[in-house]
Structures are given as structure tokens and as C-alpha cells.
């Protein structure tokens, strides 16, 4: 038997939760059941659903194609003229959401299938007193998202005297506008829920990531109230502040390189343009392209995760191995001369990450990502203006780097994206 408050989708912000096609038993921690009515349930004077700043309302229902003029769930006045929220379908058989007696959003046509319909609202930071709502429709039968859309609108007018109706709209005597099949699940929450939370809760949880790098878990917020006037704050909170800063220290780390090349040229064993291509540091096979050189400050982190998206193919014969390296150097390995900033050029320090693939994606294929791993960034440490604290990154490629193929002349490749992402700590 379902227990109140112990359900997976009963969260701290859940004010009403109905599962297992039982629309009256509230499985949220509130544990206040609705009054049963044919097709669903209702609660008059429903102050818990009187939400005007944030809310999430989600309903799941088996529908017939273009099933029209329905109300799945609503928080509405007794005269049925206005609502805080109302989720249903319109006369044309399209998903529809309304508030304040007006339509806020019209969605796709109702399919024949088991659908979840979610409405999540939050304040609009760009307009004082306005709201942003995200609507999601997921067809569980087809396994498709029919909509993830946002609209901006005014603040809902609400009252604690409104009625919360589920499975139709309660007019004081019966539920009207009921779907042919009563909804199987419903939830009302007092917080905004994003599309990821919707998917995790109602569709499927993503496969867990195997964490191999340091993680920073953000502490639960210090809270302005804790630091506000009249609040206690003492020596222990010094420790809190420092620990908080430690957990947030990577918070603003941003990609050094996060680039996509829609016009990526086709690489062959013949370097082109010739003048851009030169041997990579200490390598007989890898060729560095000067247009894939980046010179950036990295003073504050020492390692970066690198990956690149490549497409490889052959014009005939068997697939040819393609190697890709991302070099990180304290300065470019060539081209600076013997002095830099009036000082003898510092010795070269080189690190790289690499990966190789042997794949014929075909000339029209999308390709795949190559994980070049985490590389150390050898920062320039000499006091040379402009160079101190910088690293030079270069992409280099090689067809058949281990001389394992006899089909090199027919090999082709494109490098279509490149990412260099700073990490905290060490790998």
C-alpha cells in the first residue's frame, strides 16, 4: 500500500500527490485527502493549491485521439469563471492551459495514448510581477515529447477559497468536463520544476555518471536570513563561510574552448592549406594546424578535460585509423624566435592528450566524440608580459599514426567541434 510522504515523487514541495489511479488519497507529506466524486476528487477552500509565485502541476491520463473539452486538474473559483491553474484540452482537441479565466498556452493535438501534461511556473526575472511557465507534454505510449515550451504571462490571481479539482472540475454537485478515462497520477507542488526534473520523476531517471574526477557538492545555502540583521552569526559561521567558498571554488570555471566548426574542411594525408600545417612537438606523425591554436590564461587551474568531435571515412577500402591530440604548452613550440618579451625564450614544456579511432562514418555521417582525457596545463611561469600565466593549446591530427593501414590515401576526416574544460583538483 502506498504510504503518505514515502513516495519517490512526494517531495518537500509537494502539496498534493495522487498515484495508482487513486485521485483522492493524498500521498504527499500533507496527507490531506480529497473528497471523492465520480471520476476523481475535489477539495473546497484549498489553500494549499493557492500558489501564485511558483508551482508545478502535473497530470497523467490515458486519452483518445483529439479528446476535447476536458479539465484534468484545476484550482478554480466556485463560479467556474477563473482559476489559478487549469490543465485540460480545448474544443479542437489540443492540450490547453488557462489561468485568470484566460488561455495561457495551447499545445499539440491530443494523441491516442497515455500522456503526462505538466505546467511549471516561476517568476520572470526580466519583468517585475510577471511569470514564466514551462509546459511539457510527454506521450508515454509513443515514448515522445510532444512539447517542451515556455511562455511568459501575468501573475495568477488566486484565493484560498478556490477548489482543487482532479479528474474534472467540481461545480458543487459533480465533476464536469471529465476525461473518458480518469487520470492515473496527479501532483501539485509549490516550487518550479524544470524539464530535467519532469523527466527524472515521470519518464525515466538517467543512467548514473561514474564520477572519476573531483566533485564539488554545493552546500545547502547559507541563507540571507542567517546572515541578516538580528540573526545570530558567530565564529562557527566563519568555518561555514570558508567551507562554502571551498565548495563553490570551481563555480565560475568556464570552458577555455567550446567551439563548433560547421564549415569544417576535409582533411586528407596531403596537408592543406600547406602553410598552416606543421609537425607537432616531438612527433613524426601528428600535424598541428595553426588555426587550431588558442592562447589563454589558465592561472588558477592546472588540468582540463578535452574532447573533440570528428567524422572519419574512406573513399574506398577499409577504415583507416585517425589520431587526434590536444597539446598544451607553456608557449607555442615554434614560430616565436629566440626571444620572447626581450628575454630568452623559456624551455618548452609539452603535455598532450590523445585518442584514436578507426571508423568509416561515411562522407555524410555525423561522426563521434573523441575523449582526449584530462591533460595537465603547463602554464608559462616566466615573468614575460602577456605570457605569464598562459597556456597554448593546439589540436594536431594524424592519419594512420601507427602505420597500421595501407589505405591511407583514401582516408578522410573532419574536426567539427573542440572542447577544453577546466577542472578543479587533480584527475
Amino acid at each position: 500500500m502506498d504510504a503518505q510522504g514515502s513516495q519517490t515523487n512526494a517531495k518537500a514541495d509537494t502539496v498534493f500527490l495522487a498515484l495508482s489511479s487513486n485521485l483522492t488519497t493524498d500521498l504527499s507529506q500533507r496527507g490531506t485527502n480529497l473528497t471523492a466524486a465520480t471520476g476523481g476528487g475535489y477539495e473546497t477552500n484549498s489553500a494549499r493549491a493557492s500558489l501564485s509565485e511558483h508551482f508545478e502541476v502535473c497530470i497523467r491520463c490515458v486519452l483518445t485521439k483529439n479528446e476535447n473539452d476536458l479539465i484534468f486538474i484545476a484550482h478554480h473559483d466556485a463560479a467556474l469563471t477563473t482559476s489559478t491553474f487549469s490543465l485540460g484540452t480545448n474544443n479542437s482537441g489540443e492540450f490547453q492551459a488557462s489561468m485568470n479565466g484566460a488561455v495561457v498556452w495551447v499545445g499539440p493535438s491530443v494523441p491516442a495514448g497515455d500522456c503526462s501534461f505538466s505546467w511549471s511556473m516561476r517568476p520572470n526575472p526580466d519583468t517585475t510581477g510577471a511569470r514564466i511557465s514551462e509546459f511539457i507534454v510527454y506521450d508515454h505510449t509513443a515514448g515522445d515529447y510532444l512539447a517542451i515550451e515556455q511562455v511568459t504571462h501575468a501573475v495568477p490571481t488566486t484565493a484560498g477559497t478556490y477548489t482543487l479539482s482532479v479528474g474534472g472540475v467540481w461545480d458543487g454537485a459533480s465533476l464536469l468536463l471529465k476525461p473518458a478515462t480518469a487520470p492515473s497520477k496527479a501532483r501539485v507542488s509549490s516550487s518550479h520544476h524544470g524539464n530535467v526534473e519532469f523527466a527524472e520523476d515521470w519518464v525515466a531517471a538517467r543512467a548514473g555518471h561514474t564520477h572519476t574526477l573531483d566533485r564539488l557538492i554545493e552546500p545547502i545555502g547559507a541563507g540571507l536570513a542567517a546572515g541578516g540583521q538580528g540573526a545570530w552569526a558567530g565564529q562557527a559561521n566563519v568555518g561555514f563561510c570558508a567551507a562554502h567558498a571551498n565548495a563553490l571554488r570551481g563555480r565560475m570555471l568556464s570552458p577555455m574552448v567550446n567551439e563548433v566548426y560547421a564549415d569544417a574542411r576535409t582533411l586528407t594525408t596531403t596537408p592543406d592549406p600547406t602553410q598552416w600545417i606543421i609537425a607537432a612537438p616531438s612527433s613524426a606523425n601528428y600535424l598541428a594546424d595553426c588555426t587550431k591554436l588558442r592562447w589563454l590564461s589558465c592561472d588558477g587551474w592546472r588540468y582540463a578535460q578535452v574532447r573533440a568531435q570528428v567524422q572519419t571515412w574512406v573513399t574506398s577500402g577499409s577504415a583507416v585509423p585517425f589520431g587526434l591530440r590536444c597539446y598544451a604548452m607553456n608557449r607555442p613550440h615554434i614560430g616565436l624566435g629566440v626571444q620572447l618579451g626581450g628575454k630568452p625564450i623559456p624551455p618548452l614544456i609539452v603535455e598532450y592528450g590523445e585518442a584514436t579511432l578507426t571508423e568509416d562514418h561515411t562522407s555524410s555521417g555525423e561522426g563521434e566524440w573523441l575523449d582526449l582525457g584530462v591533460i595537465r596545463l603547463p602554464m608559462m611561469t616566466e615573468q614575460i608580459e602577456g605570457w605569464l600565466g598562459t597556456v597554448t593549446l593546439v589540436l594536431a591530427y594524424a592519419f594512420d599514426p601507427a602505420s597500421a593501414s595501407s589505405n591511407d590515401a583514401n582516408a578522410r576526416a573532419k574536426i567539427k567541434a573542440w572542447q577544453v574544460l577546466p577542472i578543479v583538483g587533480e584527475p
Binding site: L248, P273, T274, Q275, I278, W369
Partner: protein
């Protein structure tokens, strides 16, 4: 003499902490804690010192620069000397206390031409090789605006017609590396406290990159550098760093706040400020995600003064910056990282809310228009997984043919680790009708209100 007391953090910490020794000694709650209280509070000031790359303009993936090495010819075959052409624009937040540095990597510049108004033979004549690049940064905090500019000279190629070398790898020997250590408004450079205070919190900047002449740019980047942070002493909550000064150390410790000054309230130090800063950093500071511009070396034309926009007439989604041949999202296709793994904000990412997945608030900015008036809608979709995307709509009735900056906030799925490759940001666009034009977009973490 000014009567306005200022709280200054000068200089900002030079870098973010690695594994911080001070912080790891401290555990909360620790009632018997007697550690380095000043350093403990100052740790928070390092958080904004992440040297974010705000903009990086690159040549794309093509096989040549717009400025080639062919002999000058008629009609116009090279950019006109002395004419600036815009190639990139990015709008984003400025980290508290951050200055900006500019870096340029370029191959020596190629030829320019000039138009003879009274030609004896042909109007377009060679004008010599050379180039310049300029970064203009517009500052806006909602009540004030200002501008900073940096400009560097990109030396000419000594070859005939300013050509690139033809020898294998020859362009490596023609590389130029230029650095401007501080791009900032004049008042900031002068160190005027009131000017520094204007841009220390809540500033949005617009970076515009212009080229002049025969530039062959490989990289033009604008990166944040820790600089100076100034607010009024009586600024109580809208502050993102603790700002413990190096001078004026309080004698009593610990303290929630120092004693008020003669004519002002004093909020510059103490645990009250430390906690407020911790809260604000967690809620409002985060990474730059990505940005894009339509400029491409292989598509640009010598007479352009703005980049040719991408024009969209498709009524079904097609890739924008990832290429129009891509029409549906894929984790394997080219795309951008969503680097929210160190900024998975609470409460959206509490384990009781999302356990294993991650989501971040996203600020979208798009520069777009239609080619004419009408009643159509353009849809720009940023999709990161099969289950998460945000759509920004462009209303033709509102925008018409005027280039317009549009903005929106949304929530998208984030990488939960730097090597979490299930998330891949791809941009798609479609219209209900008409022709939509797009020049730039930028994405950053956050849903804070920004200046209009």
C-alpha cells in the same frame, strides 16, 4: 572631498583556490573553531576569480582566410583600408571585481585596397598590407552605461601582395601574439572609487569585435581577470564578495559586523557579510556556457561591414551553428559543452530533487530579425539531451526587420562532471513563415534579472 565611504577589495585575489588548505581545516558547525578567521572569510573572494573566457572569435573550420594572397584586382578584391567591419558580438555578465584582458593570435596581415573617386583606369587600387583589430566593450548596470575600447595593430606580411607564406608550415613563422592587459572604462583605469563601484556588481557587458584591413585572425578573446571590487560601505546585501580590506583590520573578532562609521553604516566585514556573500555566490554566480556568431572566414566578403547573417526559411528545425544538415539532436554530433558541473545550484539540484542528473538556469541572448514585416514566428531551440531544451521565440510582428536583442531564461540539463558526455548542446532553428536572420547568440549560467 567626497562624503561617500567606499569599501574596496584591491587587489582581488589573483586566482581561484585549488584544494584550499584553510577551507579544509574548517568544518561547520564547529563551535570550538579557533582557526584563521580572517582567511576563512576571505576564501569567498576567490570564487569569482575564475578568469572566464567571455568571448573567443576564431576563423571556423574552413580552408582559407577571407584575405588571401592573390594580386589585387578590380572589382574590389581586398577590404577597403580604414573601414571597420564588425565580426562578432557577445553579451554576458561581468564577474564581480573582474577586469578584462584581450588576446589576439593572428597571421601577419594581408593586402588592403582603396577606391579612387576619380580613376584614370580602375577605381579599386592596392593600398598596402596591414590590419587592425578592435574590441569595444559596452558596460550597463541598469542605471549607467560606459564604454571601453582596445585596439591592436596586426603587422603586415612582407610577401608580395601581403600573401601568406607558401612553404609548409610557413604561417607558423608569421604568427602574431598580442595582449592588452586591461580593457576597462577610463574611470576604472583611473581607479576612481565611484567608477569602480558602478561596475563591481550586476554589470552586463556587450563585447563587439571589429576588424580593419587585411586581418587574418586565429583568435581574438576577451577573458576576465581579477581586478578591483568596490561598493559603498552601507551596501548591505547586493555584494558577491566579502571584500576584506588589507588595511583597517578590525581588532575585535569574530564579529557579525563592525561598528558603524560616523556618517555611514559599516557592513564591510564580519560573518554577516560572509554568509550573505556565500548565499549570493551560490544563487547568482556561474559559468559562461557558449556563444556563437555567424561570421566565417570562408563566407565573409571583402565589402562586408557586418557578418552575413544565417537566413532561415525552413518550417522544420534545422541546425544553426552546427550546420543545417543536422535536423535532430544527437549526443554524437557536433555541439557545445554545458559546463554546469561545479554550479549545480540548490534547491534545483538537491539530492531529494534530482539524484544523479543536473540542471542549471540558463540566460539566452539572441540577435535576430526578420527580413521584413509580417506575423510569423521564429523558433530558436537549444537542446542538450533528448529530454531537455529551451525555445526562444522571435515574433515577427514585434521585431520586423530591425536587428533586435532578445533574451530569455530557462532551465536545461547540465553535465554533472567534466567528462559527462551525455549532454551535448545543439542549436536548431525554424520559422512558421518568412525569412529569419540570425547573427549572434550567447548563453550563460543564471537567471538573475539583467538590464534591459
Amino acid at each position: 572631498m567626497t562624503d561617500t565611504p567606499w569599501k574596496a577589495r584591491d587587489p582581488m585575489p589573483p586566482r581561484i583556490a585549488g584544494k584550499n588548505a584553510v577551507a579544509t581545516q574548517l568544518v561547520w558547525p564547529a563551535p570550538l573553531f579557533a582557526g584563521p578567521w580572517k582567511e576563512g572569510l576571505q576564501e569567498g573572494d576567490k570564487v569569482p576569480c575564475a578568469r572566464r573566457v567571455l568571448m573567443l572569435r576564431h576563423p571556423g573550420g574552413g580552408d582559407g582566410f577571407m584575405v588571401h594572397g592573390d594580386p589585387p584586382a578590380h572589382p574590389q578584391n581586398y577590404p577597403e583600408a580604414g573601414v571597420w567591419r564588425t565580426v562578432r558580438q557577445v553579451t554576458c555578465s561581468l564577474a564581480p571585481g573582474a577586469g578584462l584582458e584581450m588576446r589576439v593570435v593572428a597571421v601577419r596581415s594581408g593586402m588592403t585596397e582603396w577606391e579612387d573617386p576619380n580613376p584614370l583606369w580602375q577605381p579599386w587600387q592596392p593600398y598596402g598590407a596591414g590590419g587592425r583589430i578592435r574590441v569595444t566593450v559596452g558596460y550597463d548596470n541598469g542605471t549607467s552605461t560606459d564604454t571601453a575600447t582596445a585596439e591592436v595593430d596586426l603587422a603586415p606580411s612582407p610577401n608580395d601582395d601581403g600573401a601568406e607564406p607558401t612553404a609548409a608550415g610557413g604561417s607558423w613563422g608569421y604568427l602574431l601574439f598580442k595582449h592588452v592587459p586591461l580593457v576597462a572604462p577610463a574611470g576604472v583605469k583611473a581607479g576612481t572609487p565611484s567608477e569602480l563601484a558602478k561596475w563591481s556588481e550586476g554589470t552586463v557587458i556587450t563585447i563587439t569585435v571589429d576588424d580593419q584591413g587585411g586581418t587574418r585572425v586565429i583568435q581574438c578573446s576577451v577573458q576576465e581577470v581579477p581586478y578591483k571590487h568596490v561598493v559603498a560601505h552601507d551596501e548591505e546585501s547586493e555584494v558577491s564578495i566579502h571584500g576584506w580590506p588589507h588595511e583597517l583590520q578590525p581588532l575585535a573578532r569574530p564579529q557579525t559586523e563592525a561598528t558603524d562609521g560616523a556618517t555611514w553604516e559599516e557592513h564591510r566585514q564580519g560573518t554577516a557579510r560572509g554568509l550573505a556573500v556565500a548565499e549570493r555566490q551560490g544563487q547568482q554566480l556561474g559559468p559562461i556556457v557558449a556563444s556563437w556568431g555567424s561570421f566565417s572566414e570562408t563566407l565573409a566578403e571583402v565589402s562586408d561591414t557586418d557578418p552575413d547573417p544565417i537566413q532561415v526559411t525552413s518550417t522544420s528545425y534545422v541546425g544553426l551553428s552546427i550546420g543545417s544538415s543536422i535536423t535532430t539532436w544527437s549526443a554524437d554530433g557536433p555541439g557545445y559543452a554545458v559546463p554546469g558541473y561545479y554550479a549545480l545550484r540548490n534547491p534545483e539540484n538537491l539530492p531529494s530533487v534530482l539524484n544523479g542528473a543536473g540542471t542549471i538556469p540558463l540566460r539566452l541572448r539572441v540577435h535576430a530579425r526578420f527580413t521584413g514585416p509580417g506575423s510569423n514566428t521564429g523558433y530558436l531551440k537549444f537542446q542538450v539531451t533528448a529530454r531537455s531544451w529551451v525555445i526562444l521565440e522571435v515574433d515577427q510582428a514585434a521585431v520586423g526587420s530591425t536587428w533586435t536583442d532578445l533574451k530569455l531564461t530557462g532551465f536545461i540539463e547540465s553535465m554533472v562532471a567534466p567528462n559527462d558526455f551525455t549532454v551535448n548542446l545543439q542549436d536548431f532553428v525554424k520559422v512558421s513563415g518568412g525569412t529569419l536572420e540570425l547573427r549572434y547568440w550567447s548563453l550563460e549560467w543564471g537567471d538573475k534579472a539583467v538590464p534591459a
